[in-house]
């Protein structure tokens, strides 16, 4: 099989690490080979955090980074970063699943550039003949659970054969700290059920 490429992006502190870890372990559990790499410059200070995941057959995977324009799935934890991911990395006909949170960078706050709306994001996806899934939970108990919500939505699709909701749920529970398991599971199911 040709590799399936997942590009994950957000802002430092949003829990990209956990999200990527759950996805990697799920792909391994589903029987795929996986290569991944995180690129983080200065994550703590509101910088961009990105994680690349490539899954497929072992003898067909060489480098972990995704070539621009070749991501099958863009996972965003924030709207501007999802948009940046789409513009730079989404392949023609790709999918974007993102949490509709907004963290304005200094350029936007100083009026030097624009923050994209959901409609602009949809338009960018349409230009690339792709699909977009917006995740948003009104009564999310903790902003640090946006990553779990996105996982729930990913789980409602079987994006690659065998990467089922059950596998992703199991890996999430495996990796979550015990104090957070119940709350995570609830958000996961809620986001999964809310699929459009």
């Amino acid at each position: 099989m040709k590799s399936y490429n997942i590009f994950i992006s957000g802002v430092g502190g949003q829990g990209i690490g956990l999200l990527a870890e759950v996805l990697i372990q799920s792909c391994l559990a589903a029987g795929y080979a996986v290569l991944g790499v995180d690129t983080h410059g200065l994550a703590q200070r509101g910088g961009i955090v990105v994680s690349h995941l490539r899954i497929g057959n072992k003898d067909k995977l060489f480098t972990p980074r995704i070539t621009p324009g070749e991501a099958d799935l863009i996972v965003g934890l924030e709207r501007l970063e999802a948009y940046r991911g789409i513009v730079n990395y989404m392949r023609d006909g790709g999918t974007c699943i993102y949490y509709d949170a907004e963290q304005q960078p200094i350029h936007v706050r100083m009026g030097l550039s624009q923050y994209p709306s959901h409609e602009e994001l949809e338009k960018a996806v349409a230009e690339r003949h792709g699909k977009v899934e917006r995740v948003f939970i009104e009564d999310l108990p903790d902003v640090r659970m946006q990553n779990t919500a996105v996982l729930g939505r990913i789980a409602s699709f079987e994006l690659v054969e065998g990467l089922t909701g059950d596998i992703i749920r199991e890996q999430l529970l495996e990796i979550s700290p015990s104090s957070a398991k119940d709350a995570n599971l609830k958000v996961f199911e809620q986001a999964s059920a809310a699929r459009a």
Binding site: Q25, L42, G46, H107, L112, S179
Partner: protein, 576 residues
């Protein structure tokens, strides 16, 4: 204990997913490393995290953060000449700081073995340059190992440590950012039953650890002899191998080859997988010293060989020299443009190069069209509530109002971000600890423009003190603002001499007083009016003045608080 820690120290062989930095730690445990010292810097801090997650009573490695890279290297050297296998690690530019020490090591018998691990940064992902430390390995007369993936990090470290012990010589283990941070499934071996013997075995017969004047030459000869042993080892090393995934049939009547290393090797293989072309790849894991026999035979088996390396023209020059000496007729191809001497070699860039040489195998691809959408940049910023931010806000106001032509000198740390909008404080930056020296130079013969420089507290001890001493001695017309936040924040909150987490805290005001700083004030960075008063007074004072603007790193403060709360919650649920 966490599952991660459990796996890390598990005695038997197992297979698991790990990032390069963590795989290195597993290899350290399997090799019997006893001492490890380091100074933090991206892309390497996760190495420490993986060691420190092992509970101390089950951790065979004595690990410590040093004051700077030079001290870290000396610490590992001292342990090695006592017979203990040691590791020192730091980021690319850390080797500059360590160099005065590191350059001596190959002449001396490191009886326990010693591996110098560096995180080079092609692409300058998190550094002030993309220096190619393969040059420095040659200067240091140290063999260089270059893994290109997490699993190679694991296997090559085992080999490097073994070789280092056998030859009693230090080895340079050069990782790069995207090797450190890549993740893959790795088959680990077992951890042997080491006896971890702490007997201090240092022994000097005569001058063999004393390289001064004529004593240098026998020691240098010994270093050359060890290097030639490594050269022989390179021939049979599993780290240097020829890969022919699509067979070795000639392409259009020509036998084609590539000599490459590290991540670029995998990029070549990815391009070949796409094109199906039958090209042989000599992937070098030991890139210094080269084994001429290995190089010549590969060259001779091919009509055209492309040398693909990341950053400087090092393999290119050495391989061309070997080819010249051996009357090789093969056509040697190299990167044509200075642009190719920068950045990383991801597959798309490698494809472009290959298609330039061999368009029949690698059909030229159209340039990807620029996206129509404009996307706002997102620059890193200091955290909300950060004391540095408060200080910069106040000093910006003061300078705008009263000293509009002042020169501000930045240093390295979270506060470097103050150079950007909206503060724009600190408009010249070199490296850690430069600010006092540079500011001193800017103050010479200058009675027109005030000079203000900044430094963080970890950097104060790392490389700041000599510059400060110079400014004290010459009583330079400079105002130094020490941004004290009680941690090494930029690299992930490692402890330092004044953080209070290692031994007795060394207090910065007391150090400055002892050095004889006459103008010295200290204030919380949130007290903006007071801070402005102190800095104004210092700038008006003739001579060197220091103002300490202190406030705990808020990110660390909040995280520590959260951790404490979670620990209490856990304790309560156990008690219930």
């Amino acid at each position: 204990m966490s599952k991660f820690a459990d796996n890390m120290i598990r005695k038997d062989a197992w297979t698991g997913l790990m990032m390069g930095n963590h795989a290195l730690v597993r290899a350290m445990l399997e090799s019997g490393v006893m001492v490890c010292s380091a100074y933090p810097g991206s892309p390497t801090p996760e190495i420490a995290a993986a060691i420190e997650i092992i509970p101390e009573e089950q951790r065979p490695i004595h690990f410590e953060w040093a004051t700077n890279e030079k001290v870290a290297t000396e610490t590992a050297f001292g342990a090695s000449i006592n017979g203990h296998l040691s590791v020192v690690f730091f980021k690319s530019v850390g080797l500059n700081v360590a160099l005065d020490t590191a350059v001596q090591l190959s002449m001396l018998d490191c009886i326990g073995g010693m591996v110098v691990v560096i995180g080079d940064d092609p692409g300058a992902n998190s550094s002030q340059n993309e220096q190619d430390n393969r040059h420095v390995g040659r200067l240091m007369m140290m063999p260089i190992f270059e893994p290109g993936s997490p699993s190679e990090t694991y296997s090559m470290f085992l080999e490097a440590a073994e070789l280092s012990k056998k030859l009693k010589m230090p080895v340079l283990f050069r990782m790069t950012t995207h090797v450190c941070h890549a993740r893959e499934l790795i088959e680990f071996g077992a951890i042997p039953d080491f006896d971890y013997d702490w007997t201090p075995r240092f022994h000097a017969e005569g001058l063999e650890y004393w390289p001064i004047t004529t004593a240098v030459f026998p020691l240098k000869r010994k270093a050359f002899a060890k290097l030639s042993a490594v050269e022989k080892h390179a021939l049979s090393s599993p780290s240097n191998k020829v890969l022919s995934p699509n067979g070795s049939e000639p392409e259009n009547g020509k036998r084609l080859g590539v000599i490459t290393h590290s991540i670029p090797a995998y990029s070549v293989l990815e391009c070949m997988d796409e094109s199906g072309s039958s090209i042989d790849v000599l992937k070098l894991g030991i890139t210094f010293p080269l084994n001429p026999e290995q190089i010549v035979s590969f060259l001779n088996e091919h009509d055209e060989v492309f040398i693909l390396e990341e950053l400087d023209r090092i393999l290119e020059h050495e391989i061309k020299a070997i080819a010249f000496d051996n009357h090789v007729k093969t056509k040697i191809l190299v990167r044509p443009d200075i642009e190719h001497l920068m950045h990383e070699f991801v597959p798309a860039r490698v494809w472009d190069l290959l298609s330039g040489f061999w368009p029949d195998c690698f059909a030229p691809k159209p340039q990807r069209a620029e996206a129509a959408e404009e996307v706002s940049p997102r620059l890193a910023q200091m955290c909300p509530g950060c004391g540095h931010r408060s200080a910069f806000f106040a000093i910006r106001e003061l300078i705008d109002e009263e000293f509009p032509d002042a020169i501000t000198v930045a240093d390295i740390g979270c506060h470097s971000l103050g150079s950007m909008k909206p503060y724009e404080m600190g408009t010249v930056l070199l490296c850690m600890g430069h600010s006092n020296g540079t500011a001193g130079g800017l103050a010479i013969g200058n009675d027109k423009r005030k000079v203000v420089c900044f430094i963080g507290d970890s950097t104060f001890f790392h490389a700041g003190l000599p510059g400060i001493i110079n400014n004290v001695l010459y009583d330079r017309n400079v105002t130094l603002v020490v941004l004290e936040n009680y941690t090494t924040a930029m690299t992930g909150h490692q402890p330092h001499a004044a953080s209070g987490e290692i031994g007795d805290k060394i207090k910065i005001p007391e150090v400055l007083e002892a050095l004889g700083v006459k103008f010295l004030r200290s204030v919380d960075a949130y007290m903006q009016d007071k801070l402005k008063d102190h800095i104004r007074d210092s700038m008006n004072h003739k001579g060197f003045g220091v103002v300490i603007a202190k406030h705990p790193c808020m990110l660390k403060f909040i995280r520590d608080k959260r951790k404490r709360a979670e620990a209490t919650k856990r304790a309560e649920s156990v008690n219930r």
